[in-house]
């Protein structure tokens, strides 16, 4: 069969021949309910949206689903999705010359105007390089010409895109809904004018808006000791700083309206409705909470309508109410009761990612599981000792925790999961060992409250990675040897407990992947060489333990940084001082640097900060800088609107 090679042609005929040879071929065929396939010729701006991980992780991603729908709603715009292919398929694609393709219409991503990549984590960077390379798009932005798509990064990791700056044409900080429309408008206009000035001209127009970061327009100079001297725009019309985007009225953007229902099994077999965006709890380790301020709630009526519409459109049997801390919605009690009433008897279950440690959270979980099984509840004290929790500003006392789990076990929950972190600033061995005694108290209280001995508590603990735009951006990351030693001491302490140890489960990962994540999180442009080197050596799917190789990354770093005065430790386990220019200082998350530094100092003095939703403003800088404000209820509406006939049942 002759191979169709015009722009936008489907590569499915070639792909079809190799699919019988790979694992789980269904993930590559598309065909999801609510997927769109638009006519290539009838559109003027064409986006390929990539989630740089396996389909099973990427397909449920809300960010990609939202932008996919927002873009496809515009008549002359087409958006398709692409995900990282597993190494078994990659080998066959290279052998047969099959390019990285979209799952919607199986077009080469090289044919699109824009490749938008959503980075929830830095561990997707190597997968981006694989995708570009498979599509024969030069991995370095400097080598691309007018025939190549613009490669634009978004997502939380894009708040420090410097380690991948060489590979990107642009990056967008913050909420994507309006940003993709801005880029689309500029692209359409520039194309309509006959693409004057080539790709540099479009990038210049985008950069001038002050809300699209084009790394090539900025020079980075270094001091002799390896620190950054300064980052300067190359031309007078390029702004010194680039600002994040903030979507203010969530009710005006009820996306995804028609969530995708994949054929392949994914990590989230449910529909999600985002009930608010942002969080001002002020946990100092939490990048998401810092970079998504201020809090913007969706109204109770908006949430109810999205749940109803989404269930009708998908047939899902479970709805998750999504946010950074769902119990904090100002109307959550009415929402939970209203939804539980509405879907009672319809075999539709509701879930709330429950991490807040208080009895109210248990009440909510009880409401949502009225007739179902009460298996596990999750809480995140994060720090093992009360001192540690003051340092990270997670204000939970041991009494709070015991009271909460007592309520949970008494209400019939059998299993409580507790999340912690290891390697937090100022942490000692003793802080981590206190997790064991805390878990023991939890079991003791649970046995008393439930009258049963078969209740369980699972402790999940991960290594802390300091992130940009947080008060801990200056902190030293704990080296992996010390992290592992603390985790092993904790494991031994739990095992040695004869009366309670058997009821306590411990889940942890070793500290090595955290060091690579730390390198990629707080790295600068020199880290790009390490990424490229590791990728050329075979690094793929670095978030998957079966694919991750610490030694490969360290060898790549040795090679790539050989002529530099810096090394992996310099990027990770070194504490920064107030005067150091950080690689992301020219990228504006709205947070005032002075406030962040003060919060870091408060942390070291174990001083807590309240939540600005219920107290006066602490001048973190976001609302002033971004012209935004806290948008919360209550709206006064407590009754949910009537569902549509036949909804979900």
């Amino acid at each position: 069969m002759p191979i169709d090679t015009h722009r936008g042609a489907s590569v499915f005929p070639q792909l079809e021949d190799v699919l019988p040879l790979v694992n789980k071929p269904i993930q590559y065929v598309g065909g999801e309910i609510n997927a769109r396939g638009k006519d290539w010729e009838a559109t003027t701006v064409r986006w390929a949206l990539m989630y740089p991980d396996a389909y099973e992780v990427g397909a449920p991603n809300q960010g990609v689903q939202i932008l996919y729908e927002v873009l496809n709603e515009i008549v002359d715009v087409l958006a398709e999705r692409t995900y990282a292919v597993w190494p078994d398929l990659e080998v066959l694609m290279r052998k047969r010359g099959i390019p990285q393709f979209t799952v919607d219409c199986h077009r080469s991503i090289r044919d699109f105007d824009v490749l938008g990549i959503s980075f929830s984590t830095e561990l997707g960077y190597t997968n981006m390089l694989t995708a570009l390379d498979l599509a024969e798009i030069p991995i370095h932005a400097a080598d691309r010409d007018d025939s190549h798509p613009f490669v634009i990064a978004g997502g939380h990791a894009a708040f420090n895109p410097e380690p991948i700056a060489d590979f990107l044409d642009a990056a967008v900080l913050g909420d994507g809904e309006e940003a993709v429309l801005l880029i689309t408008d500029h692209l359409r206009t520039w194309s309509g004018e006959g693409r004057p000035g080539g790709r540099t001209e479009l990038l210049r127009r985008l950069a001038r808006t002050g809300s699209v970061y084009v790394p090539a327009f900025y020079d980075v100079e270094y001091l002799d000791d390896g620190r950054i001297r300064r980052v300067t725009p190359r031309d007078p019309d390029i702004p010194w700083r680039v600002s994040k985007h903030t979507l203010m009225d969530l009710d005006a953007w009820p996306y995804p309206k028609n969530p995708l229902v994949p054929l392949a099994e994914t990590v989230h077999e449910r529909m999600s409705v985002e009930i608010f965006r942002g969080c001002t709890r002020g946990c100092r380790f939490c990048q998401a909470g810092m970079i998504t301020r201020p809090v913007r709630e969706r109204s109770i009526t908006g949430i109810a309508a999205m749940v109803d519409q989404g269930l009708c459109a998908t047939g899902y049997e479970e709805v998750g109410l999504l946010s950074l801390s769902s119990a904090d919605h100002s109307e959550i009690a009415d929402i939970a009761r209203g939804l539980a009433d509405r879907y009672e008897g319809s075999e539709t279950s509701l879930s709330l990612p429950s991490t807040r440690v208080d009895a109210f959270n248990v009440d909510l979980a009880n409401e949502l599981s009225r007739n179902g099984r009460r298996s596990g509840l999750t809480f995140a004290p994060e720090g093992g000792s009360e001192r540690m929790r003051r340092v990270i500003n997670k204000m939970v006392t041991e009494e709070d925790l015991i009271r909460t789990v007592t309520t949970a076990y008494a209400a019939g929950w059998r299993h409580v999961k507790l999340y912690f972190m290891c390697g937090l600033p100022t942490e000692t061995d003793e802080d981590v060992l206190q997790i064991a005694s805390l878990a023991r108290e939890v079991i003791k209280a649970g046995r008393a409250a439930s009258g049963r001995s078969d209740i369980k508590c699972t402790v999940s603990i991960g290594g802390f990675v300091p992130k940009p735009h947080t008060p801990f951006q200056w902190a030293a990351q704990l080296d992996h040897v010390s992290t592992d030693a603390r985790l092993h001491a904790l494991r031994d302490a739990i095992r040695a407990d004869r009366s309670y140890g058997k009821s306590i489960g411990l889940r942890y990962h070793d500290g090595k992947p955290g060091i690579v994540e730390g390198l990629l999180s707080r790295g600068d442009r020199r880290v790009a060489r390490i990424i490229e080197c590791a990728w050329r050596d075979g690094a793929r799917f670095d978030g998957w333990s079966e694919h991750f190789s610490f030694d490969r990354w360290m060898a790549a770093a040795d090679q790539a940084l050989a002529s530099e005065p810096v090394d992996v430790d310099w990027f990770t386990t070194r504490e920064r001082d107030r005067t150091e220019v950080l690689p992301w200082d020219h990228l504006d998350s709205g947070l005032d640097s002075e406030w962040l530094w003060q919060d870091w100092q408060d942390s070291l003095s174990e001083v807590a900060v309240d939540d600005c939703r219920w107290t006066p403003c602490f001048d973190c800088g976001v609302c002033d800088q971004m012209g935004t404000s806290i948008e919360i209820g209550p709206t006064g509406v407590t009754e949910l609107p009537m569902p549509r006939v036949g909804a979900g049942a």
Binding site: F12, K24, V29, T314, E317, E347, N371, R373, G412
Partner: protein, 251 residues
């Protein structure tokens, strides 16, 4: 403390049987992929499916003998229980519209005894071998059919198993002309035995006994499955008793 669910389950009012096809790119779906797709299609269509009792209620759907991942089919079967009595023609239309394209509902009948699983005794498979001349395939088929047994090995859930792939093969016919896209076309009737002999096992046997190795992956479609007639060696319609009962009730 509550330990048992205080839920009542609506009784079953009707059982129907579904015949569906798995076509095109959806042939790459697994059995579990179809299960999820069907359950969600039922909910989208608002069909009153019955649920099991207990803490984890499941929709009452019985699956039978589904075609392997990567294999297309024109003859797949499931049985559904409803809490209301519905017109089978309406069920066919609404489920077909609700399922993704490629899972196509062909027929829906009211279920009558005996049970469906017992009626699925043999399958007729169409195997297209790209780049293989019909004469070559014919010679390989003759070679296999001339043997009493032909052992093959396949990785199963319980490890590598070796079994006879020749015995259950009732007939293996090669079309004299190659297809438009240059494939030899085989029609194979295989009786359902344990462990089941699948089309890829027959192809393994052809490779073992006659070195038949197509240069590209074969395309396999189940054309029929149903009661086996030992007299004619053919596969019948598993819905025949239900269709008879239905027309009797209408007269």
């Amino acid at each position: 403390m509550k330990r048992t669910p205080d839920r009542t389950v609506a009784p079953v009012a009707q059982r129907v049987r579904l015949e569906y096809a798995k076509r095109g790119r959806l042939r790459f779906s697994s059995h579990r992929d179809f299960q999820r797709a069907l359950e969600r299609a039922i909910r989208r269509a608002g069909i009153p499916i019955a649920f099991s009792a207990g803490f984890s209620p499941h929709p009452r759907i019985s699956y039978a003998n589904s075609a392997p991942t990567g294999t297309a089919s024109e003859a797949e079967y499931v049985e559904l229980a409803f809490t209301e009595t519905l017109d089978p023609a309406w069920v066919r239309e609404s489920l077909d519209a609700s399922l993704p394209e490629g899972f196509d509902v062909l027929r829906v009948v009211q279920a009558t005894p005996p049970d469906l699983a017992g009626r699925l005794q043999a399958s007729l498979w169409r195997i297209a071998l790209p780049g293989v001349a019909p004469s070559v395939a014919e010679a390989a088929a003759e070679c296999l059919l001339g043997l009493e047994t032909a052992e093959v090995s396949r990785m199963t859930k319980s490890g590598m198993r070796t079994f006879d792939a020749r015995g259950p093969v009732v007939s293996l016919v090669v079309e004299p002309q190659e297809s438009e896209d240059g494939c030899a076309i085989l029609h194979v009737v295989v009786r359902h035995v344990t462990p089941s002999v699948r089309p890829d096992d027959v192809l393994s046997a052809l490779r073992n006994v006659a070195d038949l190795m197509p240069p590209a992956p074969p395309r396999v479609t189940r054309l029929a499955q149903g009661p086996f007639d030992p007299r004619t060696g053919s596969v019948g319609d598993p819905f025949a008793p239900d269709v008879v009962a239905e027309s009797a009730s209408q007269h």
